[in-house]
Amino acid sequence: MTHRLSWFIIFWLVVVFAFLYTPIISVVIYSFNASKLVTVWAGWSFKWYGELAKDRQIIDAALLSLQVAAISSTLATILGTIAGYVLVRFPKFLGRTAFSGMVNAPLVMPEVITGLSMLLLFITMENIFKWAVAGLADSGMGATSEVVRVLFGWVEGRGFITVVIAHVTFTMSYIAVVMRSRFLVLDLSLEEAAQDLGAKPLKVFFVITLPIVLPAIISGWLLGFTISLDDLVITAFTNGPGTTTLPQVVFSKVRLGLDPKINALATIIIAIVSIGVIIATIQMRRAEKQRQRDEQMAIRALAKA
């Protein structure tokens, strides 16, 4: 009976895992395909990895995407943490409902709409910028005009900074949600106790609150990083010609027909992600074991005392 049952379970396990991982495995295998045609197997080869390394377009796009993701996720983590904290710790202030709604809006808003509104914003800003620069220059304030140009020049034609701003606004919402739920379960009396012992609120935030929620901040940052890294729609609305991100390159290449280099790229990304997951798991296991050991030590010390 149990034997049959376990066979049944194994069968389903195989089916489910096959469903989940066959596509990934086939990408990995085909990345070593010698043939140019993605669907025809022509023997093992590292050829496409070499090609990939020579493809400046893909390499540049990948580097750009990493930069955008790192910068926007960092900014979004700072803003999202503050937003989450404010939403939990300040139950009453003018415009709280509006603020809460605005923080959460990008989560439920279709990406096309977020992207479109961003685009409209940047175009409006660009127009105002051009008008202001020209106006200032005409009225003889060349220096001021120059300052405005340096400070706000990035809206012209859109590029790196507009993409980062767009990514910050929508990844911030995700991070704010993560941080909000972390702060909700954070015992308020910890902060009170710190104040009671003489620490001013700002110090309490940095010395007590932040260190305690640090794990949530890190996972928030990682979440923001991944969301930013694979965003296609909002990026498409807000970038200019010089700033094509990796998802855009991949998407455009795939539309022109499957390219084995993309398989190689995908394999590299899969490898990086897997290694990351494995390291994180090992770390977590180790921390858990350490905790258990500490607990046992405490119990033993208690028994002795």
Partner: protein, 386 residues
């Protein structure tokens, strides 16, 4: 129940009046008509209280009666909805917790989870920029006091409940504040450690002259520890007094019933003179004569409270005009040094009587279903008007 009279000025116990009875003494803490509402719910209701320097004042009361809320207002975490709080003559309105001369031990301990025991205790001293060597020395002293030195490097989650409580206690004591607010400081400790810590608290109070306000559920603890006790019920302070006053002279039914155990009889005042009161009580089944007067109108409704240990039982029939009824023993609980008797009076009311087990001779012992006379001395009962 042990009720030891303690005064706040240890060195001059015999000569001086305790500060709360001295009309010239300036209270260290003045709470004036303080009310705290959460929405429509009144958590603390018009409380006025004066506490003097060096006192160990206990707040006693049932769960949810507003003890923690009162402490939190003193510490500065809640603002009174109305009323004023003065500490050392300074109006505390608008003064944030970190600028108050108080430290609080939280009911939930509130230990910082990312810091070791040592760092937790040192936190307060570091905020005051004490030199490292002094911080180290004072933390070590404190850990020694609460017997946690071997655990100094542990994080709070690696400690047992009682150990955590001691860390919280050490953390609030280490700064030696002028006013220490302790919210159930000893609840999780075992009996031995609890007694040792109680003793240590009293010691610290005598030595350093810190003023303590201690919230507790435990009457016995309040009795042994406190110079005075404030009994709270539903947000109000219903009586303030020394442990002895609270136990011997409760001012109302709630206090009489809440502190220790008591037999309550409803009745009507027949005579109220300067030297005695006579109360007719159908519930007791006899007239009750009390040898001290209360000022009230004859005919007024009153309650009589008699402690179980102040009632005598005998198997002989006693005939007296008052303070004497007959009943039947319905249950006996043997406690070693004393026994608790459950007696059903002839009118049906059940009362509790405790008697010392002085004699072992079986024939003197009262047994189940024995008919007994229940008597008490005229100075034992307390007449209560509310």
């Amino acid at each position: 129940m042990a009720a030891v009279e303690r005064t706040s000025q240890a060195p001059s116990k015999q000569t001086e009046l305790p500060s709360w009875k001295d009309p010239k003494a300036e209270p260290y803490i003045r709470i004036e008509n303080v009310t705290k509402k959460f929405g429509d719910f009144v958590a603390v209701n018009n409380v006025s209280l004066s506490i003097y320097r060096g006192e160990l004042f206990s707040l006693l009361g049932g769960s949810g009666c507003g003890k923690t809320t009162l402490l939190r207002m003193l510490a500065g975490f809640e603002n009174p909805t109305s009323g004023k709080i003065y500490i050392d003559g300074v109006d505390m309105a608008g003064i944030p917790p970190y600028d108050r001369p108080t430290n609080m031990m939280f009911q939930s301990y509130a230990l910082f989870p990312h810091m070791t025991v040592e760092q937790n205790v040192a936190f307060g001293l570091k905020q005051d920029k004490f030199p490292d060597s002094e911080v180290k020395q004072r933390v070590a002293q404190m850990l020694d006091l609460v017997q946690l030195t071997p655990f100094a490097k542990r994080k709070p989650h690696q400690l047992s409940g009682g150990q955590r409580q001691r860390v919280a206690l050490a953390r609030s004591l280490v700064k030696q504040p002028k006013l220490l607010l302790l919210d159930e400081p000893l609840g999780a400790l075992d009996k031995k450690l609890r007694e040792a810590t109680q003793f240590e608290l009293m010691n610290i109070q005598d030595r350093l002259g810190i003023t303590f306000i201690v919230v507790t559920h435990d009457q016995e603890e309040a009795m042994t520890l406190s110079t005075r006790i404030g009994v709270m019920n539903a947000g109000q302070i219903v009586q303030i007094g020394t442990p002895q006053e609270i136990y011997e002279y409760p001012q109302n039914k709630f206090v009489a019933d809440f502190i220790g155990s008591v037999n309550l009889f409803e009745g009507q005042i027949v005579e109220d003179e300067a030297d005695h009161v006579l109360i007719k009580s159908a519930e007791a089944g006899c007239d009750i004569y009390i040898d001290h007067g209360i000022s009230s109108a004859p005919g007024a409704k009153a309650w009589v409270a008699i402690r179980p240990e102040k009632i005598q039982l005998t198997k002989q029939e006693v005939n007296a005009p008052h303070n004497c009824v007959r009943g039947t023993v319905k249950g006996i609980a043997y406690m070693g040094n004393l026994s608790i008797y459950l007696v059903q009076l002839d009118n049906g009311k059940q009362i509790k009587v405790t008697m010392q087990n002085q004699m072992r001779a079986a024939e003197l012992m009262i047994d189940w279903d024995d008919r007994v006379s229940v008597t008490w001395h005229p100075n034992s009962p307390v007449a209560l008007l509310s």
